[in-house]
Assembly symmetry: C2
Homo-oligomer: 201 residues x 2
């Protein structure tokens, strides 16, 4: 049997991802060329195309492998508080240069169905699953009602964050996150314990 040949260079792989992340975060997807990424990583352009099928795939992997866990749900005393803190984490992530990665991939996905599927399956849905799990925990803790559509609630929670990231209509500051969180609570919080007066008060 023939041998396998020279193995892929792990150092080249990592250098490419790091260069792609740094350049795209700073200047955006379209402004960065593949030649530039290759030169910055000290690598031949063909080496990139031996590891990934196209430019979008490189940036997608940069996001997932290097900074994919920066918005994980933080520990907190209870599920609702963990959700609140995660919203602030996600806003900070979007405000930072990392936001350019998301903007770039969503932008390219509009004309690249394969990328759109990959972005949903590898970025969006896993994170939505985390939110869903958190909301279920909050329900079990008795903090949230149990009779609403969770997917719709997730859209309402995070939709306005993506909206401000992509449309630039407003600032993703802490006040906005607090307002969004409170509006979510208003609609989904379990009825507060002490309800002494009957409905016909």
């Amino acid at each position: 049997m023939g041998t396998i040949g020279r193995p892929r260079s792990k150092s080249a792989h990592e250098a490419i991802l790091k260069s792609a992340l740094r350049l795209v975060a700073k200047r955006g997807f379209r402004a960065v060329s593949m030649n530039e990424i290759a030169a910055d990583a000290g690598v031949g352009k063909m080496t990139i195309y031996r590891h990934w099928p196209n430019k979008a795939a490189v940036v997608m992997d940069s996001l997932l492998e290097l900074i994919g866990n920066e918005t994980a749900f933080p520990e907190a005393g209870n599920a609702l508080e963990s959700l609140r803190r995660q919203l602030h984490l996600q806003a900070a992530f979007f405000r930072s240069s990392r936001g350019n990665l998301i903007r770039s991939l969503v932008s390219e996905a509009q004309s690249d169905p394969e990328l759109a599927t990959a972005f949903r399956d590898r970025w969006l849905y896993p994170r939505r699953d985390d939110v869903r799990q958190n909301i279920k925990a909050a329900i079990l803790e008795g903090s949230l009602r149990d009779d609403f559509n969770i997917d719709t609630a997730i859209d309402q929670l995070y939709g306005s964050l993506y909206y401000r990231l992509l449309l630039g209509s407003g600032v993703l500051n802490e006040q906005f996150i607090e307002d969004t969180y409170q509006q979510f609570l208003t609609g989904h919080q379990a009825r507060l314990a002490v309800r002494k007066t009957p409905k016909s008060a």
Copy 2:
């Protein structure tokens, strides 16, 4: 004094906008080339560039001049009902091939600051102003409270629509719109009419 020269052809102008709208709505911004738009409109490519500075500007004007009023607030018995119907209109607009225009322009705007500004100033903000006016009317009618941040409320109302349009995470069906509208009401509706007792009840 010299004369003015031959005037711009209004028929060429309109033919270009119609071709751009039709082709981009059907196949998307990136998949349609300027040569193709020119050929479809029966026009020289240079004529397009005499009327618009670049491809994005043509599509932007197609949106505004040809279908910009398809999501106007419909007449209704009261402001809240008008808002509810407009949400359904906007969802239908996004579900139709017109949604490709919005997706295309938002996508291109991520790497084109001038287009981003134009999209906000000419598309987004005028429509947000309509929503703001509607919400103020609903407040005056006594249907909504008057102590919330209107801009944040608009983001929460429409953010999830743009989110589903751009991310494709869920269907923009009527149930989703109803849920979104109800969640908005839950947080912002005025306390139901009869409030006979003073605050210290």
